[in-house]
């Protein structure tokens, strides 16, 4: 039986980034969602083990998406990690972001990202 590939949902409006991430993180089963408005629906369908959320997105920002996910009974226990470009050098050293969510600062190497995912997966 092949190793179980953890399912990662990436919600980020930057298509180049999500495409390359899918290539770089081939160890995981990655679902790209570039439209934050669709994030909740996609998450319900995909049933990810972890969600990577960009913060600054048009129409709806990452915070709103996180709130919606947490409000959904099916998804409320899925770990969320924020991916954000808006961090100063000072903030990068912090562990947690608003709402106590873990975050990763962009730009990020695939290795670092994988490490972060491993840390936050429930299993």
């Amino acid at each position: 039986m092949p190793d179980y590939k953890a399912k990662i949902l990436i919600v980020d409006d930057e298509t180049g980034f999500t495409k390359l991430m899918k290539v770089a993180l081939s160890a995981y089963d990655i679902c790209e969602e570039n439209n934050p408005a669709m994030a909740l629906e996609t998450a319900r369908k995909f049933r990810p083990d972890l969600i990577l959320l960009d913060v600054i997105m048009p129409e709806i920002d990452g915070g709103d998406v996180a709130a919606r996910i947490k409000a959904d009974p099916m998804l409320q226990y899925v770990p969320i990690v924020f991916l954000t470009a808006i961090v100063s050098n000072k903030e990068t050293s912090q562990q947690r972001l608003f709402g106590g969510y873990p975050f990763v600062a962009k730009p990020v190497t695939p290795e670092k990202l994988m490490e972060c995912i491993k840390q936050n997966l429930a299993f």
């Binding site: 409006d13 390359l20 990020v108």
Partner: protein
Amino acid sequence: MWDEKDMEHFFELSLDMLCIADCDGYFKRVNPAWERTLGYPKQELVGRPCIDFIHPDDRETTMREAASLARGLDTISLENRYRCQDGSYKWLSWNAKSLFPQQLIYAAARDITEQKRTEDALRKSEERYKELLASITDYIYTVHFQNETVAFTSHGPGCLAVTGYNPEDYTKDPDLWYRMVHPDDRPAVVANAAKMAAGEAPPPIEHRIFHRDGAIRWVRNQRVLRYNPQGELTGYDGLVSDITLRKEGEEQVQQVNMRLRHALARLTRSDEERIYAQMRLIEAEKLQTVGRLASGVAHEVKNPLAVLQMGLGCLAKPSDTDTPQLSLILKEMGDAVNRANAVVGDLLDFAFPTELDLRETEIEPLIRKSLLLVRHELTAAKVKVATAFGNLPSCSLDENKIEQVLINLFTNACHAMPKGGLLAVTTRQRSATAQEAGTDEGDRSGACLRAGEQVVVIEIADTGSGISEKQIPRIFDPFFTTKPTGMGSGLGLTVTKTIIDLHGGLIDIRNRPEGGAVVTIVLKCERKDARL
């Protein structure tokens, strides 16, 4: 005992006018004094009603008095005017008595015309005197010295009007002058006078006095010293002027000044507060803008960097890279670099706008050229184009920059209509409204529109979904974008507005009632005196 003959004599002799009248007021008998005084012979009076001869203004009073006689009052006395034969009037003073059983009135009248005239003249003279007195505001007093001490002081008659005391009062009471001075002003007056003792001519001094009637008046005391050939002070003349009115006026002016000063201080304070508040607001907005700018830059640069970083990671992995993936990776990385570069470039454009290269340009060909440049995007989005060009004069424009603006706006319109639609571009010439001339916020060129001057208006309308009202005020803000990351830097409209501002024009975006949005650009026509 009196007998009739005596009465007869006295009646005829009397200098006063005597008469007998019946209760209806008709003369029954008059003495010769009537003819002497009024000029009428007896026959013209007897049998006539007295009222006929009385001055119209006095008739009512006379009749009232006569009525009291008829009512039973014993005697009356009154004054009235009787008409003389020559038409003039004389004042008569009457005593009259009625006798009832006989139903007769006995009356005696004295000619008081002269007396009345004298009274009148006196009254008029008094009035004139009072007026004159009231208008006197100055008087002169003279101080005579003997052996360098004050011998006596004489006061001019005007002192009565100014101080209420007459000259004799001053002579009788040498201290009167000092007592008149207001206690608060006495030290200054004394000091002023002391200068004379020191041999100096004292400067005029203004101080208060108590007028005899108790009122406080302001006076100005000015002295002229007199010396003998030996240089000794022999006396001095003082001119005292009532300056109450001026002082009151001064005080009023001072009060008004103070009120004005307070009002000014309040205004200045509130003005300062307002300016301070405005500065704070501008600072806050600047900080916000800087913050926004910084965030925008971070986002627009870090995202491409994130792509690069991810791509490098992919490339570093030896086995997983196959050719189609490799070209994908390299393409995305290349695109990211270009995007980051473009954003930084735009940012620099926004922060440091370059000098405009202004030339006389025709707008219509420029619009057509820009439409051509975006033709590909338009067809891909299934957007139709409609143009309507008015008869336009040339404008002083930087062709490249305006082309950039047009392309930006056409592209935006295109993106607003992902499922197709109509892009309508119209131009026309008109004169600038006062409202348009009034807006110069954000103007950097200093060359605003003037009301009434000829302008060219370009309208670019789309049939997209429009812009939410909340977002419209921020539409030109740097990095404010309604598009997803990667599609536009959020600086497009910001740079567009900067370019239009530099041209001294106006740009406005609003929703159309029929749906979609319309961008209106107003540009100056070629100004002969333009030196931009």
